[in-house]
């Protein structure tokens, strides 16, 4: 082979590699949309008939508003705020909505698919809030809160803890491979902040403080939706692995550290199973059994690239126990979280971060950026990271919803709730006009 032929072969392989990258992320993004199909079914099923369309509409609008706002400023925040609250103009340039690479560009096969995958991460983060607040939040205020959560807050956290140069990573050795903290803890605690100001659904609590069970109109729809979310998670988790550089078949984790797709598949499947069985063991409730899959994956997510699979199962099983227990405690505090989002995402997310500190201490840190030394994984880094995630999620959720509440635009009035949120929409959920109790 002549040097010219060798060069041509290298270029052809490089072109093939870029094409593979595009294909991989394109389909990961498509699969992630199943998360939203799942959230849609899950929340509509968990709503009473008179609120079911409003719950679904709210979910679809969060998805729709997230995409353009993530284009406008979400991607920019992720790329540029890795130092804290200081803007990095060099990396920010790549995320500006008027950059030459933020649209069809024959010289760039990466930006569009990475932007797309991160946009779907943002949509997922915002949708987590959606379920907690069903049946009483006003639509427009919800959309604004979802945009702030999905296109501002989590991006900031991701830039700090889910980025090769993020300060939590480089200063503390924070490890959160599949976003137990930057997606789930953030959204769970943002939801908690909102729920405190939003208040419970009418009839949720009695005057003595005891709670009533408000059943959704279709548990089968809810359970099927949860299974769709699990399917979508495989796209989410795939998109947390970077392709096309690195030495292990081209796969690296979000920090640029060596990994394989096989590692993620071993542990994701184990976590799904562990979470379901853990929840079933402690509740016998089909709703919580399927939510247990989410508890399991979220609990194992931060170390998904490193667990021994039976340990992933055990951590997920513990998460499956923790989720419903935490939901009960939150309810006892007088907070009405209609789908257990704070427990599933917030509490299990924190457990996932701490589990990394407990079981993965000593793994060497890695950053794909030159000039950055990353400390080994350690408990202090995970505790600091968890505290930062809790605060970064809770504070904006609480403050914004407090302001909206004071303005009288957060909560639907008793009359609207009594007559049904669906009255604001065209159409009815079921032609036979099935009524809830």
């Amino acid at each position: 082979m002549t040097p010219e032929e060798m060069q041509a072969a290298i270029e052809a392989l490089q072109g093939l590699s870029n094409t593979n990258l595009e294909i991989f992320y394109y389909w990961c993004t498509a699969i992630m949309i199943l998360i939203h199909a799942g959230f849609l079914m899950y929340e509509m099923g968990a709503s009473r008939v008179k609120h079911s369309l409003a719950s679904g509409t709210k979910n679809i609008l969060a998805f729709a508003f997230m995409i353009p706002t993530f284009y406008m400023f979400g991607w920019l925040i992720y790329l540029s705020m890795w130092q804290g609250f200081t803007y990095d103009p060099v990396w920010g340039e790549f995320g500006l909505p008027m950059s030459a690479i933020m649209g069809p560009n024959m010289a760039d096969q990466a930006t569009g698919v990475f932007w797309g995958a991160f946009t779907l991460f943002a949509c997922t983060t915002a949708s987590i809030l959606s379920g907690a607040v069903i049946e009483r939040i006003r639509m427009a205020s919800f959309v604004v809160l979802a945009v702030i959560l999905g296109s501002v807050v989590w991006n900031l956290a991701a830039s700090w803890g889910w980025h090769p140069a993020g300060w939590l990573v480089t200063k503390f050795g924070y490890h959160d491979a599949v976003a137990s903290g930057v997606v789930h803890t953030i959204s769970g605690f943002f939801a908690l902040g909102v729920l405190i100001n939003l208040g419970p659904r009418i009839g949720k609590f009695n005057t003595d403080g005891s709670a009533n069970v408000i059943r959704g109109h279709s548990l089968p729809m809810t359970i099927t939706g949860l299974m769709l979310i699990v399917v979508g998670f495989f796209g989410f988790i795939g998109a947390c692995v970077l392709y096309n550089y690195g030495t292990n078949g081209g796969w690296v984790n979000i920090y640029g550290g060596p990994t394989t797709l096989s590692a993620y598949l071993f542990n994701t499947l184990m976590a799904v199973a562990g979470g379901i069985i853990g929840c079933y063991a402690c509740t016998r409730d089909p709703f919580w059994m399927m939510s247990g899959a989410l508890c399991g994956v979220i609990s194992a997510a931060a170390g998904l690239d490193l667990w021994y699979p039976p340990l992933a199962f055990a951590i997920a099983f513990a998460g499956g126990f923790l989720g419903p227990w935490a939901a009960k405690q939150i309810e006892k505090m007088g907070i009405d979280d209609a789908v257990g989002a704070v427990a599933v995402h917030g509490v299990c997310g924190v457990w996932g971060l701490l589990a990394v500190g407990i079981f993965l201490g000593g793994y060497p840190g890695f950053s794909s950026w030159d000039g950055f030394e990353v400390p080994p994984i350690n408990m202090t880094g995970q505790v600091v990271g968890a505290a930062v995630m809790i605060a970064t999620g809770f504070i904006p959720g609480y403050v914004l919803s407090w302001i909206f509440n004071k303005l009288g635009i957060l909560r639907a009035g008793d009359g609207v709730q009594r007559d049904g949120m669906d009255n604001e929409l065209e159409g009815i959920a079921y032609p036979e006009e099935i009524r809830s109790r």
């Binding site: 508003f65 069809p104 560009n105 006003r138 009035g413």
Partner: protein
């Protein structure tokens, strides 16, 4: 009609989206999109206020 193409040949083309060579064109599109996000929210707020009154 709007002559939005940034290229005259596919040879060596990079950014090929509409108005890629026109900051003004991009800015106009960007702010139209922004308005299209804000206006439906304002309409929704107004509809919700009306619903509050109707269902009292």
């Amino acid at each position: 009609m709007f002559n939005s193409s940034p290229i005259t040949s596919w040879e060596g083309a990079e950014a090929i989206f509409t108005y890629a060579d026109s900051p003004l064109g991009m800015a106009v599109c960007f702010w139209i999109m922004t308005a299209m996000l804000i206006v439906p929210l304002v309409v929704s707020y107004k509809a919700e206020e009306k619903a509050e009154i109707d269902h009292q």
